[in-house]
């Protein structure tokens, strides 16, 4: 199984490479990727240096061009694909049909991976992308249970990549317009969820309030930890009860599922977090490298597999709200 790690800049890319990533995934510094944050991501020149650094060490680079081409924006998205091809990226991660068609036609040698933003969940859907656009791998959206992931792996020729660790989208990726409902901008249109310009913090007698596009999405007590504000993790009133109506802030952590994922033939495990610091990327990459390297021995040992508790608690320390979940992989969500 391949370990894919995120990088939002060159330092993070080196940290991922140096700590044992098999593949690093990156994006260009514009609206063409679904993790567009101010100051984050790569210029073409930085990306080229990143590919060089990784390739010299036997590590692959995937480039996410995974927001949706907007009206009038073709030239910009095409340029991202062309740049990824020219700098020698091993694959592009794409969701848009027009971009997939273009890449298949113009850069047939460039690997085409279906982005999680395309939310493909069935062998039929995967086969559509394979037969029409030569997609060889798909990143699964975080909506399937582990049983469903296992079943899907048995029914498709497309390689599967799943998220193993990091922030958790509660909604199916590419199927969420909550951000644009409040701000006019979404991951699909500009690659941004909860764009920073639309976030407003305010100290008030009732507590620290955070608004998105003018709408109050949460209020925190003085010592209460507050993560990056997104609509799906806010607190609201539903039928007279104040609650996290969608999800409490938590992170996905699936170390205990590794043996099942491997047995199912999952091709790659992906760590979320292009927006994270190089230090974070380095440490999380190292822990996951060890978890995966020790997997065969740990599985061969007597009894049920359990990942190293020290490593699990180390991962927990990196997690939003310091809590983790198996998310959609476990029955409770289904």
């Amino acid at each position: 199984m391949e370990l894919l790690c995120p990088a939002g800049n060159l330092t993070a890319l080196r940290a991922a490479v140096d700590n044992g990533a098999d593949t690093v995934y990156i994006g260009f510094r514009d609206v063409t990727n679904a993790r567009q944050f101010p100051g984050l991501n790569f210029t073409a020149e930085q990306a080229e240096r990143g590919v060089e650094y990784a390739h010299e060490r036997g590590v692959r680079v995937h480039v996410a061009v995974n927001s949706y081409v907007q009206a009038g924006g073709w030239a910009q998205w095409q340029q991202s694909i062309d740049q990824a091809a020219r700098i020698g990226a091993d694959a592009v991660i794409v969701a848009d049909l027009g971009l997939l068609a273009y890449t298949a036609e113009q850069w047939p040698q460039l690997g085409r991976h279906l982005s999680v933003q395309a939310s493909a969940t069935t062998p039929e859907a995967l086969d559509f992308y394979r037969r029409r656009y030569g997609v060889t791998r798909a990143v699964l959206p975080r909506v399937l249970s582990i049983q469903q992931v296992e079943a899907l792996a048995g029914e498709t020729d497309v390689e599967l990549e799943v998220f193993g660790f990091g922030s958790l989208c509660v909604m199916a990726e590419g199927r969420c317009l909550l951000s644009s409902y409040a701000t006019g901008e979404s991951p699909n249109t500009v690659g941004a969820c909860s764009p920073a310009w639309a976030v407003q913090w305010q100290e008030r007698p009732e507590g620290r309030e955070v608004r998105l596009g003018g709408l109050l999405i949460d209020r925190f007590a003085p010592e209460e930890p507050a993560g990056y504000p997104t609509i799906c993790k806010g607190r609201y009133e539903v039928e007279g009860e104040l609650e996290h109506a969608f999800e409490t802030p938590t992170s996905l952590e699936t170390a205990e599922l590794l043996p099942r994922l491997r047995r199912a033939g999952i091709h790659a495990v992906k760590i979320e977090g292009r927006q994270r610091s190089p230090a974070y990327v380095g440490k999380v990459t190292r822990i996951w490298r060890q978890l995966m390297d020790r997997l065969p021995a740990a599985e061969a040992a007597e009894g049920d597999y359990a990942p190293d508790p020290d490593q699990v608690s180390a991962l927990q320390a990196f997690s939003e709200g310091r809590t983790t979940t198996l998310g959609p992989y476990e029955r409770k969500w289904q």
């Binding site: 009206a71 073709w74 969940t121 559509f128 317009l177 969500w333």
Partner: protein
């Protein structure tokens, strides 16, 4: 129904809520002969079984015999094999057109060479993507809910430049807007029930469960695994612009009650009459997306015109 080939049509979108079968039939009875197109089927949750695939197909045949255009809508998020089987059953109905709401359905329809309607969740945002889905067999499309009118105009111009055939375009013009889909059922979660033993609690909420901010602003509506805008889209003020762009239909999304009034208002607006619709009251309406703003905003609804 409206005269003339160019008159915009009125389509009734699929019912997004869990209503009892009798209510569903009453709903369609009340609109017979008053609209051009009915989209039928369960698009949100496969656990809702008031109407099986066979029932939808049967109802569809009845309505089609009476002269309506009928389209069968597929599930928007397909994860279980049983769900994919229902999608296949709808695609194999042999007679009625299908609206594909995910790429499972697109795959089935393309493989059969059947013309289809590309639903609003297929993420078609550009002329190139529209050309690609057209090549796969789409003959009509419903743009993403968040697409502004000006962008839609651009997409259609791009399609023409690419040499694509003109495509029928249907805009989501009325109703609570579907904004997100999840593996989780938020209605069941609110009732502290597991999704696979949900007791179909969403049946208690024929128009979803309101989500209110801590400042008391009505914000969203929870409808099972779907999250909707709490405010109701109303694009009546945009109709002259849609007609000028050559769009083929408006989609009105079913709400409990008052749909006859809504249909009449849209029909009048299409016929060029000045009309205001206060169902629901104006402060519960929105049109921000069409005018390129945040979805929850009121633009032309407030001022009468924009631009």
């Amino acid at each position: 129904m409206s005269e003339g080939a160019k008159a915009m049509k009125i389509a009734i979108g699929p019912i997004l809520y869990h209503w009892p079968a009798a209510e569903i039939r009453r709903f369609y009875d009340s609109l017979r002969g008053r609209v051009d197109t009915f989209y039928l089927g369960e698009t949100v949750c496969s656990r809702r079984r008031e109407m099986r695939a066979e029932d939808w197909i049967g109802l569809g045949r009845e309505l089609a015999e009476e002269g309506h255009e009928v389209v069968l809508s597929t599930l928007s998020l397909v994860v279980a094999r049983s769900e994919a089987a229902v999608v296949r059953r709808l695609c194999d109905n042999g007679e009625l057109r299908v609206e594909a709401n995910d790429y499972t359905a697109v795959s089935e329809l393309e493989a059969r060479g059947l013309p289809f309607v590309a639903g609003p969740t297929l993420n078609i945002y550009s002329g190139r993507a529209l050309r690609a889905i057209q090549r796969a067999g789409a003959v009509r499309w419903v743009p993403p809910i968040e697409m502004p009118g000006a962008s839609l105009r651009g997409v259609l111009a791009e399609l023409a430049e690419l040499g694509g055939d003109p495509m029928e375009t249907e805009v989501f013009a009325y109703g609570r807007q579907p904004l997100a889909f999840s593996a989780r059922c938020f209605t069941a979660r609110h009732y502290d029930r597991p999704k696979d033993d949900c007791g179909l609690v969403c049946a208690h909420h024929p128009e979803g469960m309101p989500v209110t901010t801590r400042a008391g602003e009505r914000f969203l509506a929870i409808n099972g695994i779907q999250t909707q805008s709490w405010c109701c889209a109303n694009l009546i003020p945009a109709i002259p612009q849609m007609q000028e762009m050559g769009l083929s239909a408006v989609r009105l999304s079913p709400r409990p009650g008052a749909m006859d009034e809504v249909v009449a208002a849209f029909r009048a607006a299409i016929d060029g009459a000045p009309v205001t619709l206060e169902e629901p009251p104006l402060e519960q309406q929105c049109d921000g997306y069409w005018w390129g703003d945040a979805g929850y905003k009121r633009k032309a609804l407030e001022t009468g015109t924009v631009e």
